[in-house]
């Protein structure tokens, strides 16, 4: 294909501003999907995406679009908007020359609009500003177009206006893309260099690598080399997503498509790697991606102890379609063998857990999430991913916790409450700017631990839903943190340990002890629950002993029923975790997570 007829672009926006719906209209206009197969947000193909109405994974699709008598090849990538999936956006950007920056006409610019704009600009992409949802009664297309023009440094009349719902303005937008997005400029004659910008695992075909071919050509029958580890394999098939995977004889410079090598080694197709040909290898690999930095950590354990190997295999496979996931084996006295996993945020964590459960038929227990701490002991720096590994006070010099640079976009009228909230969360103001007289953008340095759990909900409730939040990793700062342990019958339960700011420890300890009292069923003996810092007890609760649990009557010799009831009870017990003599239900481990999200006394 003549590169001049190719346009590679992605759609980026704040969450829910209509990216996937706009992609639907592109599919319509180019007749990419048969009418009766079309459904809303067609590219959101995962069940989870459809149930939650959000995009989780970027999706590439090739469209054929006739314009001025020639057929153009448009490679579109729909990206997710949620802050947890920013890594998906940045990977997509590297496969494109242009980006549609989409803004909801009723919402205006929001925090991820800014974040994604900066990413796209830094990646050197041509940015096409578009106001969406102009059909909404509350739409303010003129005002929003002005804000957007100001942001990207364009004239308001250069901002396109569409309704992804009705399709108004979509054809104009396609034309503008052809005009404004540069065609790819790789060298078709040079040795092959193709960027692996994503991957997935197909149970029948193995690893599928998503490629953006920069230079050269790759066919369905070539010997390919993954440049990072020099591993070679035969390509079995190359093709494009149109929108379903369709084989093609070859992919050439400028194309976006996929490669199947039949490799079962899951670690081979590393996202960010460069593929070249064994027969004529490229000299230099393409710049890859910076590994994303996990924001939160949590232990994932199989509810059935025997599923450890299944979980490991599932993580390896999921990692292929979720490059941001990191994990390392760990073990817990309470939960047995599992993995400490790093996630980009709580939504990411939730999605990973749910995908593992659904796609691999697992049942998992997730421990309360925490951020990564650093313990400084003389010249030694110890990274702590699991609160129970935090050394006892007095054995180290000090502790550091991660900080983020947070951007809040809010109507100016809510600036007061927003700043108050940031202050309460140990934030320090960095910058305040006005996007327009009515809208402001504030930047705060905040401890990650303070915003990752309930901050967003509080922000929303204090601004009647108008404020939006984005944040990026900043660095580590010294903090007065302590480890709070939870003890059952005097024995610490590692999975319940948590590291919190000293000022908040007593409230946290009390809330946790109370939650556990509610969740731990009565046992044959009294169960003492304590929250401690070091050797100091900060809260205690008791679960009274169970006194009655017997089937009073054996009616007419029906022993079978009695035994079955007992077996049911046994099954219930089997699903509990035993800590010392205490049976702890799995919900208790999950509930610990909720306490973290909503420490008592801090509710709005």
């Amino acid at each position: 294909m003549d590169q001049r007829l190719i346009r590679n672009f992605c759609i980026v926006a704040h969450i829910d501003h209509g990216k996937s719906t706009l992609a639907d209209r592109f599919l319509d206009v180019t007749h990419a999907v048969a009418e009766r197969q079309m459904r809303e947000q067609y590219l959101d193909r995962m069940d989870l995406e459809r149930e939650r109405g959000i995009t989780i994974k970027a999706q590439a699709v090739r469209l054929a679009y006739p314009h001025d008598g020639v057929e153009y090849e448009l490679n579109l990538i729909d990206t997710p908007g949620h802050v947890d999936f920013t890594y998906e956006v940045s990977r997509s950007l590297a496969a494109c020359e242009g980006a549609i920056l989409l803004v909801d006409a009723a919402q205006g610019i929001e925090a991820q609009t800014l974040a994604n704009f900066h990413l796209a600009r830094d990646a050197g992409l041509s940015i096409v500003p578009v106001v969406n949802k102009i059909d909404l009664p509350a739409a303010n297309p003129d005002g929003v177009a002005e804000e957007l023009a100001e942001l990207v440094g364009a004239e308001p009349q250069d901002v396109l206006r569409v309704s992804a719902k009705s399709g108004a303005g979509v054809t104009e937008l396609l034309r503008a893309l052809i005009d404004r997005v540069p065609s790819p400029s790789g060298d078709p004659a040079a040795p092959l260099r193709a960027l692996v910008f994503d991957s997935s695992y197909d149970p029948y075909r193995g690893v599928v690598a998503y490629l953006r071919v920069v230079d050269g050509e790759i066919t369905g029958r070539s010997r390919v080399v993954f440049m990072s580890n020099r591993s070679t394999s035969e390509s079995e098939e190359v093709g494009v997503f149109a929108p379903d995977a369709s084989p093609r004889p070859a992919l050439t410079a400028g194309d976006v498509g996929y490669l199947i090598t039949g490799v079962k080694d899951l670690r081979q197709a590393k996202v960010g790697d460069t593929v070249t040909l064994a027969s004529r290898p490229a000299g230099k690999a393409l710049p890859g991606y910076r590994e994303p930095k996990p924001m939160v950590w949590s232990g994932l354990y199989p509810a059935e102890g025997g599923d450890y190997a299944v979980l490991r295999d599932a993580l390896d496979k999921l990692k292929l379609s979720d490059a941001a996931l990191v994990y390392e084996p760990e073990s817990s006295l309470a939960l047995g063998f599992g993995f400490r996993c790093g996630f980009l945020g709580l939504l990411h964590m939730d999605i990973v857990k749910e995908r593992l459960e659904r796609e691999f038929n697992l049942e998992l227990i997730a421990t309360a999430p925490n951020v990564e701490f650093r313990v400084i002991r003389q010249t030694e720096v110890i990274s702590v991913h699991n609160p129970s590994e935090m050394p006892q006070p007095g054995t180290y010099d000090y502790v550091e916790e991660p900080f983020v640079l947070a951007t809040v976009v809010t109507p100016s009228s809510f600036l007061g409450p927003v700043m108050e909230l940031c202050q309460q969360r140990r934030g320090s103001l960095q910058d305040l700017r006005y996007l327009s007289p009515e809208r402001a953008e504030v930047h705060y340095l905040l401890p990650l631990a303070e915003i990752i759990f309930d901050f967003f909900d509080l922000l929303k409730s204090r601004t009647r839903g108008y404020a939006s939040l984005d944040y990026e990793h900043w660095g580590y700062e010294r903090s007065d943190l302590v480890r709070v342990d939870l003890l059952l019958q005097g024995e610490a339960v590692d999975a319940f340990s948590s590291v919190v700011h000293r000022d908040k420890a007593p409230t946290y300890g009390r809330a946790m002890a109370e939650r556990l009292r509610e969740l731990i069923p009565r046992q044959l003996f009294e169960v003492a629950i304590q929250a401690t810092i070091g050797s100091r007890v900060i809260a205690r609760e008791t679960v009274r002993a169970k006194r009655k649990d017997v089937l009073a009557k054996c009616y007419g010799g029906d022993i079978t029923r009695k035994r079955k009831l007992l077996e049911k009870q046994k099954e219930g017990k089997r699903r509990m975790r035993r800590v010392g003599r205490v049976d702890v239900p799995q919900e208790a481990f999950i509930a610990a997570l909720r306490v973290d999200q909503q420490p008592a006394g801090r509710q709005p």
Partner: protein, 394 residues
């Protein structure tokens, strides 16, 4: 009998060295259905009584050849309310059973009865036909509790029935009591037990009210119309019963059963000890040689199958070794005699003995009063890891 010798035939499935067995006969008729009751019984089905009695005879004919080598040491007419049938008919039924099965001459023969369904004449008739033990469904001496349980008789009719039984000559009478009904207080229960003791019955069964989902009570509890029984209050009530009955000289020989010396219910003991039993009638359960089976529940279906010349069996199970092991703990631990201590691995029971829930008595291990009330938990804890029952958690 030494404890060791007794162990030999508590093994479920061993047919009993002496070939002894129990016979249960189910009579599925009641005046009305009580709100908490999920037994296989029916109000307004009395017109089937004649056919049902014939059915029992047919079933006996079919079953008898299989039980030739067994001697029945107990017979229990349960229900339902067996005394819904005229005493002559019950007498005839007993006679027809005697002709088909071999009875021990000293067999314990019990009939369950509800107040208001028996009078002096009927009781005398039962006694004359060989029934030696009467079990009266009294439930409570507090009228408010009887209303709450939706029982149709009064405390007075219970006293009257008891007096009638005594004057008819019954020397072995049991009273059934229930504790934990909605509205029943500890005090009310105490008075009920005191009144029961004052009558000087030979045997007392005190059952904690259990809410069964399929009953009227179950539905009301599910709908939030009636609170479920408070397990702590029921525990207190249980201990009141233990104290009062113990003081009055009754032996607490099974979780829910107390008896004066020599008056344990032989038939029920058979269930705990794993003695074989044959159940006749709709929904009746049987057990022999590690096989448990039960008849279809609806009386009409029961009769139809018999008309076709078939045993009216509704289902059966053969116990695996693991199930047998669980069962013998489940059953053995209900009884004050307990189980041979060597059934459990060393040390398994120690923490529970320390907590006062179990007790070593010579080479046996038995539950204390407190332990009996949490027998389910203890069986699970004891069974963990033995006989195929896995320990909870890793």
């Amino acid at each position: 009998m030494t404890p060791r010798a007794r162990d030999e035939h508590v093994q479920p499935g061993s047919a009993g060295i002496d070939g002894s067995a129990g016979l249960y006969v189910h009579i599925p008729f009641c005046l009305t259905r009580c709100g908490y009751c999920d037994f296989n019984t029916y109000a307004g089905l009395e017109h089937l009584a004649g056919a049902y009695l014939e059915g029992l005879t047919l079933e006996s004919d079919l079953a008898a050849p299989e039980w030739r080598d067994h001697t029945f040491v107990s017979v229990f007419f349960g229900g339902g309310t067996p005394t819904m049938l005229p005493s002559e008919r019950l007498g005839d039924l007993l006679g027809s059973l005697r002709r088909r099965f071999s009875f021990d001459p000293a067999a314990e023969i019990t009939v369950e009865a509800n107040p208001d369904t028996v009078d002096g004449r009927a009781l005398a008739g039962l006694l004359a036909s060989g029934v030696g033990r009467l079990s009266l469904g009294v439930q409570s001496f507090d009228p408010a509790v009887l209303v709450s349980l939706e029982r149709v008789h009064s405390p007075q009719s219970a006293r009257t029935a008891f007096a009638a039984a005594r004057s008819a000559g019954f020397q072995n009478v049991n009273l059934d009591l229930i504790y934990g009904a909605n509205g029943e207080t500890l005090e009310s229960w105490r008075r009920t037990v005191e009144e029961a003791v004052a009558l000087e019955p030979d045997h007392l069964s005190c059952y904690a009210l259990t809410v069964e989902p399929s009953t009227r009570l179950g539905r009301k509890v599910a709908a939030g119309m009636v609170p479920p029984p408070d397990p702590d209050l029921q525990a207190d009530m249980y201990h009141v019963a233990c104290d009062l009955l113990g003081a009055a000289g009754y032996e607490h020989y099974e979780i829910s059963n107390w008896a004066t010396p020599g008056r344990r219910c032989l038939h029920n003991m058979g269930y705990w000890q794993g003695r074989p039993y044959l159940g006749l009638g709709a929904g009746a359960h049987s057990h022999r040689d590690g096989r448990r089976w039960w008849n279809v529940r609806p009386p009409r279906q029961y009769l139809d199958l018999l008309d076709g010349g078939e045993l009216p069996i509704g289902g059966e199970e053969r116990l695996s070794d693991a199930e047998r092991a669980t069962e013998r703990l489940l059953l053995g631990l209900r009884v004050a005699d307990g189980i041979p201590a060597q059934w459990l691995p060393d040390g398994r029971a120690t923490p529970f003995v320390e907590d006062g829930l179990a007790e070593r008595r010579g080479d046996r291990l038995a539950l204390t009063d407190r332990g009996m009330l949490v027998a389910n938990e203890l069986v699970l804890a004891f069974a963990a890891g033995i006989g195929g029952v896995e320990p909870p958690g890793p």
